[in-house]
């Protein structure tokens, strides 16, 4: 071998140098495109490279499973907790938005009726009787709520009247309850009547307009307001709209069914009017 290198070494080195120079010139001349040798090498090595990559991936997978599993599990739990937090924030934000809307409406009501002293309360539970319509609110005499105080929505729609007060809770009878009679006015004509709960209508969430004077004109869609008779319910609160007006089967008296403006089934927060100016 030594003899061979002594004899031919110089020639081999010169040939290698020549090939290197030719390859260098070719690569430079082709401007980035692969030369023949590179192509050949790459073609031959491609399946090998692919095989190695597959094996490497497989081994990385095993490594990941063995050593990364716990970290990923922890990360997954952290992410789940973060998502739950964010969902809670979204829910809180939605609830806050709803309350914000109610309070904005309430602000409008306060501006319109500056004489009202209002107390906000949430509904704790609805009455479980089939014969009445009541609910319990979260505030009572500790917050200045008194018997027969009037209860409204943020829009100023009449909801009912306080019929029982404890230190921390109060029971409200709604306007559709058969035991509640409220002095009423037909807004369009100014005619007085009485809005009363009716057993049959109570189950539909409605009430009746009674004691309508002879000849009074009532049309579907008429707005019914409180007349302010008595000292417990202020004048001008919206009770609801007439949805069915006509004559009794006897054709002697008029009747009207009122659909309350306050969506009683959807209430969650109400406002108790603790005091107001009585307009004569």
């Amino acid at each position: 071998m030594r003899e061979f290198l002594k004899k031919k070494g110089l020639a081999i080195a010169a040939a290698a140098l020549a090939v290197a120079i030719i390859l260098g010139i070719a690569t430079h001349t082709l401007g980035g495109s692969s030369d023949f040798i590179s192509n050949a090498v790459n073609t031959v090595m491609r399946p090998v490279g692919s095989g190695v990559a597959v094996i490497a991936e497989f081994l990385e997978g095993i490594y990941g499973y063995m050593f990364e599993y716990d970290r990923l599990k922890t990360e997954n739990e952290d992410l789940k907790a973060k998502i739950a937090d964010m969902e809670q924030q979204i829910r809180d934000s939605a609830a806050a938005n709803e309350e914000n809307k109610r309070l904005r409406k309430l602000l409008e009501l306060r501006e319109k009726r500056s004489d009202f002293e209002l107390e906000s309360a949430t509904i704790n539970s609805w009455g479980s009787s089939n014969w009445s319509s009541t609910f319990t609110i979260s505030k009572g005499s500790n917050f200045g709520i008194e018997l027969f105080d009037c209860v409204v929505t943020e829009h100023g729609y009449l909801v009912g009247q306080v019929i029982k007060v404890g230190p921390t809770t109060a029971t409200v009878r709604t306007i559709v309850d058969t035991n509640l009679n409220v002095g009423a006015l037909i807004e369009r004509t100014g005619i007085s009547a009485v809005a009363s709960g009716d057993f049959e209508k109570m189950r539909e969430g409605k009430l009746k307009l009674t004691f309508i004077p002879d000849g009074a004109e009532i049309l579907n869609g008429d707005t019914i307001l409180t007349s302010g008779r008595g000292e417990s319910i202020p004048k001008g609160l919206v009770i609801g709209r007439v949805t069915d007006a006509g004559l009794d089967p006897s054709a002697l008296t008029q009747y009207a069914v009122i659909t309350p403006s306050a969506a009683l089934n959807e209430l969650s927060q109400v406002f108790v009017i603790k005091s107001f100016d009585i307009v004569e």
Binding site: W126, G127, S128, N130, W131
Partner: protein, 164 residues
């Protein structure tokens, strides 16, 4: 020892009262069936009276009646009616009926209809309400409430079998 057993029995009755009240007022009041809500406390009173005797039925009835009147704002209707129903169901089991599920069901039917009649009394006689509407509500309320005889049968029977 006898006193201890008595107080344990009393405590279990109180627990039953509270659980049934919560179920009636907070849970099933949100689950109306045929448009009505059930009366569960009276069914429990009838059960205690029927299986435990008229004395237990009367005492349990007083407390259940007070709770019902608080919930319905109907004082003193239930405070009077439920002890009567409790004592009555006790007397029925002591003198007339066998202590089994069918008899409990029949007694509950009678008791619940009596209570429904008392509830519709003011509407029937002092207000201009169609009797057929009132009877329909009374019948539906009784039917829905009767369903609670089945889940209450075992607890009230076991509770009443405890020695003093």
């Amino acid at each position: 020892m006898q006193n201890k057993r008595f107080f344990i029995k009393l405590g279990l009755h109180a627990l039953l009262l509270v659980v049934v009240y919560i179920l009636q007022h907070f849970v099933f009041s949100r689950i109306p069936l045929w448009g009505v809500k059930p009366l569960i406390l009276p069914v429990a009173v009838i059960g205690i009276g029927f299986f435990g005797g008229s004395v237990w039925g009367g005492v349990f009835g007083i407390f259940a009646g007070i709770l019902c009147d608080v919930a319905f704002v109907t004082a003193p209707l239930f405070t009077i009616a439920l002890p009567v129903v409790g004592v009555g169901s006790g007397l029925l089991s002591e003198y007339a009926l066998l202590k089994n599920l069918l008899s409990y069901l029949i007694t509950s039917l009678l008791g619940l209809f009596l209570i429904s009649f008392l509830q519709m009394f003011p509407f029937l006689f002092f207000r201009d309400v169609e009797p057929s509407i009132l009877l329909r509500i009374a019948a539906l309320q009784t039917a829905y409430s009767l369903l609670f005889v089945f889940p209450l049968y075992l607890p009230v029977r076991r509770l009443s079998r405890r020695r003093r």
